[in-house]
Symmetry: D2
Subunit: 159 residues, 4 copies
């Protein structure tokens, strides 16, 4: 969990050097969104099925983008795709039908071609952790070829 205290890890290659100008600006580190667990999301064990956490991560990062000033849909409209290359989730507890959970999202790593988001799924009290995880994304064009994320969106994400 110590890693949540660190700043965004930005690779030191030329791709990301322009971002460092933003290091002094106050950065909203985390973005929280409340989600109420749906009946559809439970399984016969009586708790939310494990794959749904990845859906909640997606809701979390959509909200993160919105909070930073753009919609992920805008990026797609410009011909960019952020494809998931890696996901990891550690489940510590379970989420029940109708309870409100909090998905807390932050940026863990950012450069022009690779973005890593970190997530915590918390109880409504924002104290007890239910799960935590990361997703790694590669920026590609509509044909699936690697493409640098436009500078404008890098700025949005890093601020």
């Amino acid at each position: 969990m110590g890693r949540w205290g660190d700043g965004v890890t930005q690779t030191r290659d030329t791709d990301t050097v322009t971002l460092f100008e933003f290091r002094d600006t106050k950065m909203k580190d985390i973005v929280d969104i409340n989600i109420r667990v749906r009946y559809a999301e439970t399984d016969q064990m009586g708790v939310a099925y494990y794959a749904n956490y990845l859906v909640w991560f997606e809701v979390g990062r959509s909200e993160f983008c919105r909070e930073k000033g753009f919609r992920y849909a805008d990026l797609e409209a410009l011909g960019y795709r952020l494809v998931v290359s890696d996901v990891h989730c550690r489940y510590r507890n379970s989420a029940k039908y109708d309870e409100t959970i909090v998905v807390r999202t932050r940026l863990k790593h950012l450069n022009k071609r690779l973005i890593t988001f970190g997530y915590q799924v918390l109880r409504e009290d924002r104290v007890e952790m239910i799960a935590e995880g990361e997703t790694q994304h590669i920026c590609v064009d509509s044909h699936g070829k690697t493409k640098s994320l436009p500078e404008k969106f890098l700025h949005y994400l890093a601020r």
Copy 2:
């Protein structure tokens, strides 16, 4: 259940008249596909969640098309979409995790712009019925405008 014994109802307008040539050909009325119920598809009631029946209907009609000689993906590749305009499902029993169910699909109505599929979800013994339903589809182009289904595919479906 009596309706399953009827032939395909084809509207008598000019759109569909060419189909009548096919009425004499032996028509494979139903197409069955086995599906094993996934843990993901259960809910905390311990049975398959009701929305999954619509997913199974989709698996059934994909198989129906394949059995008739084409893939629904081929139709999309040509710029056509079959958008769902209506769905109805009656649940008579429930499906359990890991059981094999049979989705039985047939064509209930066909013309150039409108297709209705009928479905039965059966136990593996193909006797006990779990659910039955219908979906109605409108043929549109990639911009969502109504478009006649190409004659070739009408022939495939009706045979």
Copy 3:
């Protein structure tokens, strides 16, 4: 759509007669809940997949119950289940990723053993309709046997 203007249809058998006392109380006819369309809910047609509307209906009726003073989970905790016996949905338009839709739920029919909910899925402006539908539910015990809904919950629903 005229049916949305009618009052709750309550069967006139002895099961439901006690409800009529509540007819004079001001009844909150509809309950609205906003839902943001998830990326997970889209399909390759670029709009929300048709089965998700049934998930949204479920979110709508959970909210309806909450607004009426109880949680569906409370009912389950007492050993009751509301199993879906019938669902119907008419799709008039499509819902896009990241747009906020409104699920408007109302009670269409209520007696001790059978409940029918009606739904409208609207654009955020609450004017344009995307879809509408109904679900019918039978009250059973935890063994799946028909059981009368406790009077307390009938009162909650009807008020």
Copy 4:
């Protein structure tokens, strides 16, 4: 990928010592199951949504158990649950609607309280890899308390 060539890693504590008797028996290392990608599983990027890989993993391990001689449902009927404590998936390529993928499951680690399954998602040719991952499971009773997996099932899994 080298790890797929290793035998099952069994912890050397007293919990698992009885398993070593089985090391000589011919062990079916991998279990393959074919899955056809559903339209419901695609998203607006035109490929299978990333959370569905976890559902496919579940289908893979259900099949693994069946191949080893038991059904996961049997284990639940005896009051045991295998709750997921960790999942990791690396996406190398994407899966398209209607294509048949192969989920290849193997046991990576086994003791009385912890099981790790490994997965590969392959194209139908079983050569090109689409994704690979692991899930870790803890054996608990129906109240969520850690409980040793019954010896009989350890034997099934290890053979």
